[in-house]
Amino acid sequence: MGNYQNMRATNHSVNGVNLKLLNAAIRFNALMLGLTGGTLAAVIVYVATHTSIARWGSNSSAYLELLAIFFPGYSVTSNGAWVGAFWAFVYAGTCSALSYRLYGRVLGTRIADVLLSTVPTENPVLKPSVLRLHGISLGVAIGAIAALGLFCSTAWLVMRGTADESFHAALFSNYIPGYSVSILGGLLGAVELFALVFLACLLLASVYNRIVEMRHKKP
C-alpha cells in the first residue's frame, strides 16, 4: 500500500494524470476480473449441480446442498442450479474484483514490472503487451480475500447458531491446525489460510512468469 501512497504523493505534484489513469486502470481491470471470476464460478456451480443430479438423481443432495447455508434458495435441482450460479457469480465476482483492487493498490508504481516489455509500443491498446504476474502483490491480494472469506464464513456459522453442528467446516482443521468453528478459530484459520494462499500465489506467479519469459524470449 505504501508504494501506492508514495506514488500518490509523487504524482500529485508532478503529474496528476498518472494517478487518475492508474485508478481508472485498476477499476477497469477489477471489473474485468470480477466478470471473469464470477462467470467461471457460476458455470462451475451450475455444472456441478447438474452433474450431481445426473449421477445420483433424487439422492444427489449430500454435500452440495451444504452450499444453501451461504446461497439462500439453493438446492440440488434444476432451478436450484440457476440460483447457485447466481450466488456464485455474486460471491466470486465480488471477491475477484476486490482481489484486483487490492492487487493494483499493492502493486502501485511497480505496475510496469508486470509487463513483459516496457518499450513504448506503437499502440498499447491495439497491440497489447504480455501480462506478467507480481507474486507478492498477488499473494497479498488473494490471500487477504481468502482469509476474509474464511473468517466471514466461520462467523456466519457462529452467528446462525449452528457452529456445534458444522462438523464439515470443522474438517478444515485437518489442513489448518488450530482452526475451529468459532470466532477465535476463524481468526487463527484466516491467518494460516493467508499464509498458504500467499505461498500458492508465489508458486503460480513464478511458474507463469517463467513460461511467459521462455515463450517470448527474443533470440
Binding site: 506514488m7 509523487t10 503529474n15 474485468m32 467461471l40 505496475i111 508486470v114 503487451s129 512468469n209
Partner: protein, 116 residues
C-alpha cells in the same frame, strides 16, 4: 527504487493480454500440488486402526474415477488436479483476454460514435 510511471505503461498494463498456455500450465501445477498435498496430509495424520481415512475427500471419487485417499490415489489426484487446474487456467485466461477485447471494441465503437 520507484520511478515515475509513464502513461503508456499504465495503458499497456491495462490491456496486456494474459498468456494462455502459461496460465494453463501454472494453474495446472498449483492445483495438482494442492490435491496431492490435500490427500497426503490426511495420510500422514495418525488415526486409530480400521478407522476410515478421509471419507469426505474420498467422495471426490464420484467425479474423479480412480481417485482414493491413498498414496496411489494421491498420484491420481495430482493428475486430475493438473487437468482441472489447466482447464480452469485456460478458461480464465481466454475469458480475461476476451472480456478485454469486447470492452475495447465497445470503447472504440462509442468513441467513433462520439467523433461522428
Amino acid at each position: 527504487m520507484n520511478r515515475p510511471v509513464r502513461d503508456h505503461e499504465i495503458l499497456s498494463a491495462v490491456f496486456a493480454k494474459m498468456d494462455v498456455p502459461a496460465m494453463t500450465v501454472a494453474m495446472g501445477v498449483v492445483c495438482s500440488l494442492f490435491l496431492f498435498l490435500a490427500t497426503t496430509t490426511l495420510l500422514l495424520q495418525a488415526v486409530p486402526q480400521d478407522y476410515p481415512v478421509g471419507p469426505h475427500l474420498e467422495s471426490l471419487a464420484a467425479y474423479l474415477p480412480g481417485y482414493r485417499v491413498s498414496w496411489v490415489g494421491a498420484v491420481f489426484g495430482a493428475f486430475y488436479g493438473f487437468l482441472l487446474g489447466a482447464v480452469a487456467g485456460f478458461a480464465a485466461a481466454v475469458y480475461w483476454n476476451l472480456t478485454h477485447y469486447i470492452a475495447l471494441g465497445m470503447m472504440l465503437i462509442s468513441s467513433a460514435e462520439l467523433a461522428d
